[in-house]
Symmetry: C2
Subunit: 176 residues, 2 copies
């Protein structure tokens, strides 16, 4: 039995889709995730040419309306039956997200106990056997195995075991 | 520089006083903390003779109105200037507490960044050098040094370095 630390945004919840929706609405664009395959997402967003999506993350309604990632529910349920699964989400930067993330979990992952749910600022004080996350800043301070969940903002990142979807994560745990 | 994990309820915030207020209001009693010096708090509360205070913890208004423990602000400010201080609070059992605990921190500890604030279910996945907490369940899974903060519900607990107030904690870090 392993202790598995799972991130929410861009791992369980499609935050990138939500961000692109806001960005496109603000800027009159029609960007898709694939647009960032060969570009640095943050350089593009911070270039000064566009209105920023970031203010919207502080508003009510952003996090509660994110869609669940394909197969996340089924695979996390199966993982939680064989392992200790903890959902650890960076949330305290966005006070309105705290309750929304709790409610989102109740909606899509009611089988995860409140005991196994954590809202934090940074993840450097989190320990476990495996961390699944889309941000290097979280993976690099973790002492166990790490899986980088593919996201539009981490396309240039190298040196991590990259997974593209939840079926791959299923195979990682159940077919190795 | 140490990574210090500090609990909120009954360490920074006087949750016991809040609980006794609710208990006394519900039961028409006038219990003080000292009443539990020679009794097991949980045995007494769960004896079935009294209306329980626990439902109130789920309501709005309980956590935001707790008083700050004497000297906690000054000592935590000083600690945070020399060490990495993280506030880690069990909160996800009580959904209404999430935002209230965030707001309470803004009110009394505005110098603690959102980066250093964590709301969780259980603390077994938290790592650091020192943990200050009033519950054995949190201290016993911690791999670093532990300080047990004296509280009405832990009077019978032995085997931990017990501290009675924030001045003692100050001395522990700055005079050893």
């Amino acid at each position: 039995m392993k202790t598995i630390i799972i991130d929410m945004d861009d791992v369980m919840a499609d935050a990138s889709a939500g961000i692109l929706d806001v960005f496109n609405e603000l800027n009159g664009t029609d960007l898709k995730k694939d647009f960032f395959k060969d570009k640095n997402f943050y350089d593009f967003m911070n270039s000064g040419k566009y209105l920023t999506y970031r203010d919207r993350l502080f508003d009510q309604g952003f996090f509660i309306n994110l869609e669940v990632m394909p197969d996340a529910q089924e695979v996390i349920k199966e993982l939680s039956e064989k392992h200790k699964v903890y959902i650890v989400s960076a949330a305290t930067e966005f006070p309105n997200s705290l309750r929304e993330k709790y409610d989102w979990m109740q909606k899509y992952f009611p089988f995860i106990s409140w005991r196994n749910f954590m809202l934090c600022g940074d993840k450097s004080i989190v320990k476990g056997d495996v961390m699944i996350d889309d941000h290097e800043k979280n993976l690099k301070t973790f002492s166990g195995e790490t899986l980088l969940f593919d996201a539009m903002h981490n396309q240039q990142l190298e040196g991590y075991h990259r997974v593209y979807n939840w079926q791959e994560i299923h195979n990682y745990f159940f077919k190795n």
